[in-house]
């Protein structure tokens, strides 16, 4: 062989070897968990943390698309979106063919089997079992024929008795991959329930085999699976499911292609071999580990934000120059709002509309966002999150602005000119960390400008829920994240029937509001629906039961060797990410 050819030959062999070696090394994606999950039994948990894990090991009938905005549902375990009958009461579903549960000792021979309609109906009945599910049952309450009766029957049965064999009128199996659900009324919101992780499809074998350890031994159809019983407190290692049906999306938002987010379009998911999720409860250790390259991506907290992110004059965010070569960020508005709820049953606030309006006018939401959140938020003029259909752009809500002159005038109208005669008001918080205290200090200064003295009550979640549930508060700083991306989930916060123990903690009751809510609840998005939203917005503006509303931004910061990252609060990013192992090995300090 000629010398040059020999060299080239050796070189290519070497490269191939390196490539093969690289290919042998499993790619690991490391992302920290900030708190322990309670259980991974889909029907017994309801928290962002469990969601994160559930979405990686289980599948639901419907998913949210990863790249497209506004959030839209796409078929998950289904082969296509369900069809609705002419009377709009019966939904027909068709499952994907050949989706398998992962191999697990609970199956005969340890081999997983194909998912069938029976599994779906089993999972739904389990969801409706009142002995198991007290947290998410509301999502299917009064929705499916016969399911409420089933739910009631489970409550009367002894614990451990399996009623999933009983018949539910509205759940019908047609064949191994087809089934129908009959609704009690025309209900466009029902499909959202099938995208909630609580309706993940589980195999009955696993439930029977693991019994009360089922919450630590998920057996699903998701992109990852657990190799052994999960350790709540340590590192959770999830391995790639080689038979996963999902593929990387080919459709995104304009601009996604330019950002390289469509490079893996059509590829089989997941793109990494191992998902590692260590438990790191305090921010400082997590931040330090990220800076060292030991963590691939994480959410951003305020303290680290200031160091790592800079804000461009146009308001957008980018990684600070000194870190620009190492990290990337992606952010989006949260499908949720932060607000201050006023207790309408409070003797001082309840009957005094002018006082409430004065407080609303005195709050400078933009200052809250700029000073304390590094600008990571969007002031809202209605109570619908910024990127959800029905938001303030759709309904043309008038802008809220801090207006001290107006606030002072309203104080006088309220009978407390300059704050004279008004006893100190108390705002309750459910956290006591320094970020919360800083927020309180800021609000206190803002209220002091109109003569209102504000005291703070910093509690923990249990005490806060107890107090607000009993109506023991005047103002409460709270937030609400959507369970599903529909504006109805936010307008229901002020529906009079949702008073405690529901989310209407201030006990707001207005007949006109209720009428508009009930009328608009099940409508499809569009001008007709938005007209009702406008009515409700006007009432909220006038009565001021919720004030100081803003939509926080959700950030993710990732190492440069992580690909496909687009912050999505509804579809866990871990399922779509890619790791460049060579860059990672080089980059870890």
């Amino acid at each position: 062989m000629k010398p040059i050819r020999r060299v080239l030959c050796c070189l290519s062999l070497a490269l191939a070897a390196a490539g093969a070696a690289g290919a042998d090394e499993p790619t690991v994606l490391t992302m920290p968990r900030y708190a322990q999950f309670d259980t991974l039994d889909p029907v017994q948990t309801f928290s962002a943390l469990s969601d994160q894990l559930l979405q990686s090991v289980y599948s639901t009938l419907l998913n949210y698309a990863y790249l497209e905005r506004p959030y839209k549902m796409e078929p998950g375990l289904l082969a296509s979106m369900p069809t609705l009958s002419a009377d709009r009461l019966t939904l027909t579903f068709k499952l994907r063919a050949g989706v398998r549960f992962t191999d697990n000792p609970c199956f005969p021979g340890g081999k997983g089997r194909v998912v069938t309609s029976d599994d779906v109906l089993y999972s739904i009945k389990r969801f409706a079992d009142g002995r198991l599910n007290d947290k998410t049952w509301w999502a299917m309450k009064d929705a499916v024929q016969g399911l409420d009766a089933y739910h009631a029957a489970t409550l009367k049965a002894a614990p451990g008795v399996d009623l999933t064999g009983s018949d539910v009128a509205g759940l019908r199996k047609v064949d191994a991959t087809t089934f129908t659900i009959r609704l009690t009324h025309d209900n466009p919101l029902f499909l959202y329930a099938l995208a909630m992780t609580a309706t993940s499809i589980v195999p009955s074998e696993a439930v029977r085999f693991y019994k009360d350890r089922f919450g630590l031994n998920p057996v699903g159809t998701g992109p990852f699976h657990a190799e052994k019983e999960l350790d709540r407190k340590g590192v959770i290692r999830l391995l790639k499911n080689p038979d996963y049906y999902g593929v990387y999306p080919s459709v995104g938002e304009p601009g996604d292609a330019a950002r390289g987010l469509l490079k893996d379009a059509g590829k089989r998911l997941p793109l990494v071999d191992v998902l590692e999720l260590p438990l790191i409860e305090e921010n400082q250790p997590a931040a330090l580990k990220f800076l060292r390259g030991e963590i691939d991506w994480r959410f951003l907290d305020r303290a680290n934000f200031a160091k790592l992110i800079r804000r461009a004059p146009d308001g957008s965010f980018a990684v600070a120059d000194e870190y620009a070569g190492r990290f990337g960020i992606s952010y989006t508005t949260a499908p949720g709002i932060v607000y201050v709820a006023l207790n309408m049953k409070d003797p001082i606030l309840g009957g005094n509309k002018a006082l409430r309006q004065a407080l609303a006018a005195a709050i400078d939401v933009q200052a809250e966002i700029d000073v304390l959140l590094n600008g990571r938020g969007r002031k809202l003029d209605s109570i619908v999150p910024y990127e959800m259909p029905g938001n303030e752009r759709d309904t043309g809500a008038p802008p809220h602005r801090k207006d001290l002159a107006l606030a002072k005038k309203l104080m006088a109208d309220a009978g407390y000119p300059g704050g004279a005669g008004l006893p100190p008001l108390t705002m309750s918080f459910y956290l006591a960390d320094s970020d919360t205290r800083n927020m309180f200090d800021l609000l206190r200064a803002q209220f002091a400008a109109i003569g209102v003295q504000l005291n703070g009550s910093f509690q923990d979640v249990p005490a806060f829920l107890k107090a607000t549930g009993a109506g023991n508060f005047q103002l409460a700083y709270y937030d609400w994240t959507a369970d599903y991306p529909d504006a109805e989930d936010f307008y229901q916060l002020l529906y009079s029937r949702n008073v405690t123990p529901g989310p209407n903690m201030g006990a707001y009751a207005n007949a006109a509001y209720d009428r508009a809510y009930e009328a608009s609840r099940l409508m499809a998005d569009g001008p007709a629906r938005y007209a009702y939203f406008k009515t409700m917005n006007a009432l909220i503006e006038d009565d001021a039961p919720l004030i100081g509303v803003f939509d926080p931004l959700r950030f993710g910061i990732f190492q440069k060797w992580v690909g496909n990252f687009k912050r999505n609060p509804l579809a866990i990013e871990n399922n779509y990410l890619r790791i460049d192992p060579v860059a990672k090995r080089k980059g870890m300090q």
């Binding site: 309670d38 259980t39 309801f46 009142g130 509301w138 009360d212 305090e282 979640v461």
Partner: protein, 310 residues
């Protein structure tokens, strides 16, 4: 001896009952509502009623207290409200982890601190003594939280001598525990050395010590062979009664270093209103304290024949 043990154990019963009563009153009667906490935002009246019934919270308070007493006697603490896990296993594994965090610095610290205290006593009233006293008071004047923050930042992050946090079971845990051990050693030094020094000084001019000295024994020998053996008893007393608290773990270390011990479990339970965990930890802590107090008294009797177990 046997009769004494039995009598002491019987005497412990009112204490444990008192602890149970206090715990029950403070947590069940005044504490947060665990049902509301568990159900969160979407609680409905129906769900609340169901859960209260499942957890036995719809019974009258006296009945709930009887239930609690029964749990204590049978060592069946039920399940966590939040995770649904069996508490027995959780506490056992947590206890082992907590012990791995607190015992090594405790043991090592005892040896080191006794030695340092002996040394200081030997050179008492000199510059070493005074400087040491100032140093240790100074070290104790800084909050433990500050030690953790500063040392984690400096030694783990800036200098990279230790991992920042984390835990692995088995021998791999050592590299994660090294920094918590170091911090605890530092925290222990001040109070322990001062205490031991006081104990040694109490006997330093006793007749029998002076006799030894007058017989020509050097100061070091005097300390080692005459003062120390006598000071063993209070030293042991001090240390044995500390053991129950070792089992409960150091929540500060566990929190900041993400170590899954009982301390971390307790803090989690506090913030989530997980009453069964709190009640179990409190009662077990009390039982452990009773037990080790008894062991302590027995050791005392064995070590010092003058002590009559009356």
């Amino acid at each position: 001896m046997g009769a004494y043990v039995v009598r002491r154990l019987l005497q412990a019963i009112p204490t444990v009952f008192g602890v149970a009563l206090l715990t029950f009153l403070l947590f069940n009667a005044f504490g947060p509502d665990p049902v509301r906490t568990a159900l969160g935002n979407h609680a409905t009246a129906e769900a609340i009623a169901n859960l209260r019934h499942q957890w036995g919270l719809d019974q009258s308070l006296p009945l709930q207290f009887v239930d609690f007493l029964r749990q204590i006697v049978t060592f069946d603490y039920g399940r966590s409200y939040v995770t649904g896990d069996d508490l027995g296993t959780q506490l056992k594994s947590g206890a082992l982890v907590s012990l791995s965090v607190t015992v090594p610095p405790f043991v090592f610290g005892a040896i080191v601190n006794v030695s340092i205290a002996l040394f200081i006593t030997r050179h008492r009233d000199g510059i070493v003594d005074r400087a040491a006293r100032a140093l240790f008071i100074g070290a104790m004047s800084v909050s433990a939280l500050v030690y953790v923050l500063a040392l984690q930042y400096l030694l783990a992050f800036k200098l990279d001598w230790f991992p920042i946090n984390g835990y692995e079971s088995g021998w791999a845990a050592v590299k994660y525990l090294a920094l918590p051990w170091l911090i605890q050693l530092l925290l222990l030094m001040g109070p322990d050395i001062r205490l031991y020094r006081t104990l040694f000084l109490a006997d330093i001019d006793a007749d029998w010590v002076r006799t030894a000295r007058s017989k020509g024994a050097g100061e070091g020998r005097v300390l080692f062979r005459h003062v120390l053996p006598n000071a063993w008893i209070p030293i042991i007393t001090q240390n044995v009664t500390t053991i129950p608290f070792l089992i409960l773990g150091s929540f500060l270390m566990e929190r900041f270093f993400s170590i899954p011990g009982i301390g971390n479990l307790t803090i989690d339970a506090l913030s989530r209103g997980d009453l069964p965990v709190l009640k179990a930890v409190t009662v077990l802590g009390a039982l452990a304290l009773v037990l080790f107090n008894l062991v302590n008294d027995l050791l005392y009797a064995v070590a010092d024949p003058r002590v009559r177990l009356s």
